[in-house]
Symmetry: C2
Subunit: 508 residues, 2 copies
């Protein structure tokens, strides 16, 4: 039996395994500040890769980055009732701007109370809408296509690292358009940017589709999401794109003079992804030895570990490794220069090896005296860690051959992670459920996957009733897949004639 690097397996306790990966891969840790985490270098390096790759795509679709204030006056929220209802319960409120010493303790200075409290942004539609109303006068000013990378705060009662933290990092795109058609087109364009980014860069297969009414962003006319399947079968919403209609343009008075000289309200959209994606990467690609990072978002794609023993030959091994690192750094893979690290920290080679395995570096290369003598290197591919006999699969190959093959190997690892995840997801979506009792039964197992059913798209109170029934089973609607087959027969919830197919799942 294989002795894995983590002391808890996915099978045994998925939630504990998730925390173990985060800890053992040095991704993040509790900060001591309620609900907030520290993102450590390996975790933040993954986020930097995500930022760089996604930012390129956001810019390539015509958007520009800006920066808007962290603080939002309460009065901005009061203008849009539905939006307030959605966020009021979880907002951090700044009420003072100075501290004083009192009885040997620091306290907010009663003399420095703000006239109007400020909210720490939970999302920026209101404050960006206010800017749009200044920027937009004529149809010539449209579309306005902007994005910001920022921190936001939603005061969560139960937090879980990357998935649900009081503060998190994200990008939020905000756009304004002259027509409904254009704004809807933008909403779908960004959904597709997220879908293809998740698949191509994160190796994360996702289902893109529209959320039902009860899952809409507060203030949105339509909300779309990408949903990924974790290894425990649960769904993770990994990105959303909203068509906001005139909700925020009414509240913030974003009006423009159209070509006929009449005043019209702009049609707006917003869309975002966050550090939550990293939680998804962990739960889709991790295994019992830790994380496996898809090469495109790996801070280091190839890590070289010299096997030093405080012997005279150490200098030769180090020199050999430096040459190898330089050779690798000259290569390109997956459209970018190869990122190769030589790990010269003062620690044992075995500790380093397993450290990088747990972190999920795609390729780990070990170099000892014998490798140098033979002109070889020992190569570990993180996507195939063990041989069939359960031994670590470390292959000795000529250095020149490794250098020649490294780009293709990285591409193959990226592909392999995607294929594994895609096959797992496809195998775990049931589409044959036609009655509620069957649905109930489908979710009785330990890793139930998802079920796609036909429904009649009820609204209002009727929908609420359905949602309650699902809630009792800890189930939620995920989305109506854009590429789902046509609905057939009766709705499994209402019995009425079905109009579309919707995904039901447990979710994070």
């Amino acid at each position: 039996m294989i002795k894995h690097a983590l002391n808890v397996t996915r099978e045994k306790d998925f939630a504990a395994w998730y925390q173990a990966v985060i800890s053992e891969a040095d991704l993040a840790e509790e900060s001591g500040v309620r609900g907030c985490m520290v993102i450590r270098p390996w975790g933040y390096g993954i986020w930097e890769r995500i930022q760089r790759l996604l930012d390129d795509r956001i810019k390539a679709t015509g958007h520009e980055n800006c920066y808007f204030p962290l603080f939002i006056p309460l009065s901005y929220f009061e203008k849009e009732a539905e939006h307030v209802d959605g966020f009021a319960k979880e907002m951090a409120v700044v009420t003072h701007h100075r501290l004083v010493q009192k009885d040997g303790k620091l306290v907010p200075d009663p003399e420095a109370k703000l006239e109007e409290p400020l909210v720490v942004r939970p999302t920026s539609e209101t404050v960006i809408g206010a800017a749009f109303s200044r920027w937009i006068q004529s149809w010539r000013d449209l579309p306005v296509l902007i994005n910001q990378w920022a921190n936001v705060v939603r005061w969560e009662m139960r937090t879980r690292m990357f998935l649900r933290t009081s503060e998190f990092l994200w990008q939020e795109g905000h756009t304004a358009h002259a027509t409904v058609e254009e704004a809807r087109e933008e909403t779908m364009k960004m959904l597709e940017v997220y879908r293809s980014f998740a698949e191509d860069c994160l190796a994360l297969p996702v289902v893109a589709g529209e959320k039902p009414e009860n899952e809409r962003f507060p203030g949105a006319v339509s909300t779309y999401s990408i949903e990924a399947m974790m290894q425990d079968g649960k769904a993770l919403q990994a990105g959303t794109s909203h068509f906001l209609g005139t909700t925020f343009s009414s509240a913030q008075n974003i009006r423009f003079q159209n070509a006929e000289g009449e005043l019209e309200l702009a049609q707006t959209t917003s869309w975002g992804v966050s550090t939550r994606m990293i939680g998804g990467v962990i739960m889709v690609h991790g295994d019992d030895d830790g994380l496996r990072v898809p090469p495109r978002i790996a801070p280091w794609q190839v890590v070289i570990v010299p096997m030093l023993r405080d012997q005279p030959e150490d200098a030769e091994i180090t020199a050999y490794c430096k040459t190898l690192q330089a050779e690798l750094a000259k290569l390109s893979a997956l459209g970018e220069p190869v990122r190769a690290l030589l790990d010269l920290r003062p620690a044992k080679a075995a500790t380093k090896r397993w450290g990088w395995v747990k972190k999920g570096a795609p390729i780990v290369i070990e170099v000892g005296g014998r490798d140098v003598a033979g002109g070889n290197v020992s190569v570990i591919r993180r996507d195939r860690l063990y041989r069939e006999d359960g031994k670590l699969d470390s292959a000795v190959v000529a250095r020149g051959q490794l250098v020649e093959e490294a780009p293709a190997m990285l591409e193959s690892i990226q592909q392999a992670l995607h294929t594994q995840a895609r096959e797992r997801m496809d195998a775990n979506i049931r589409r044959d459920v036609t009655e509620f009792a069957e649905l109930e039964k489908a979710f009785e197992g330990s890793k139930p996957g998802w079920v796609e059913v036909s429904w009649s798209k009820p609204t209002g109170a009727e929908l609420d009733k359905v949602v309650e029934r699902l809630k009792a089973l800890k189930l939620t609607f995920r989305n109506v897949p854009g590429d789902a087959a046509a609905a057939e027969g009766a709705c499994i919830f209402t019995g009425a004639s079905a109009v579309e197919r919707i995904l039901v799942a447990r979710a994070y």
Copy 2:
């Protein structure tokens, strides 16, 4: 006489001119939230360039990026008295985590008061120190070299865009070392990174040196800065690097076991630059036609403006411009691919031209029907906007020639901006003042520049008296230039024997 693009000149009203540049170049605007600005795409694009170039240098010197919480519990601050004194008066305090409706208004929910108020970080020594105390146990864990890009909040009473805003963006590096020597070496290394970055990338000549005692960061043993001279002669502190000794390691209990097995306090440093640098770029490189952006930090280095007239030939002009853009994008200049934009917005060509002049794009290329027919383009260099006769200097050159010369032209503009600023600074530092009365007189003019004098480096109450005398003249100590000549004669403040040379200036 030249009719300039701005309606106020530097000569007439420098402060109004500064605001006009920010507004006319679309860099930033007031947000409606007290003390906070909106950084617009052109301003944020400059910040993104600064981030990318400086981040490369921070990583090249061995640092890794992390992310720490926005919120800091009050108790973290209480541990370091001097640090609290420095920041308590300007901290935004979060006291509630929920809003409720009361009499039709949103108010902080009295039921959701935090047990311990949280401060929005004004700087992160305390919360990062707490992490260091978890990460560091042994000398083998040292050095710890990290950096974060983040927003911070210091509640300023009088704000000015980019220079002093309640919220601003920055990077803050934090490191821990085993010895004083190593920590001091790090402090100086990062000062040099800032100095060379300012000179090479921002074309900003600076003086690097140590701050006197009264200007130290709260809690620092030594503070170093880079100081730049604005066109009105005032100084702008553009970056700081602090040797913190054991101030924060005592407060946060950052201890390590040394090679001999004894527990020691770590020696820490911190260093930062912020969006303030953009204020410096404006006040050093701007002119009466707006901003001039050094090519290395220009979001777009070459902007192509097609002169379209709603005529059939428009299509041909546009096609010609697209070819030109593609040719330029294949080039490299200043170590990176050339960033060339084709401006196809629906606006008049003259409006676009002057828009890009005010924004300070290094090269603006106009293409009309006659240019296309002749295989030419019309080129405007932002660093030499006018001919000697006061007319706009727009040169017609063959398209092929422009493409061939563009990289050298960008390098020459980068160099020219630096040289102009360097000559101005050098010409405006007086080093011949040997008496206080002379110093007083030196600052009587309208653009007095700086004065470097010999002083005896008084401390405590004696220093306070000197600082008060300077304050009465609206003067401050800037720093003791690292490359200043040896001190000679008597201190102009105390009459005692001088030990070093220090810069005196008005400052932002």
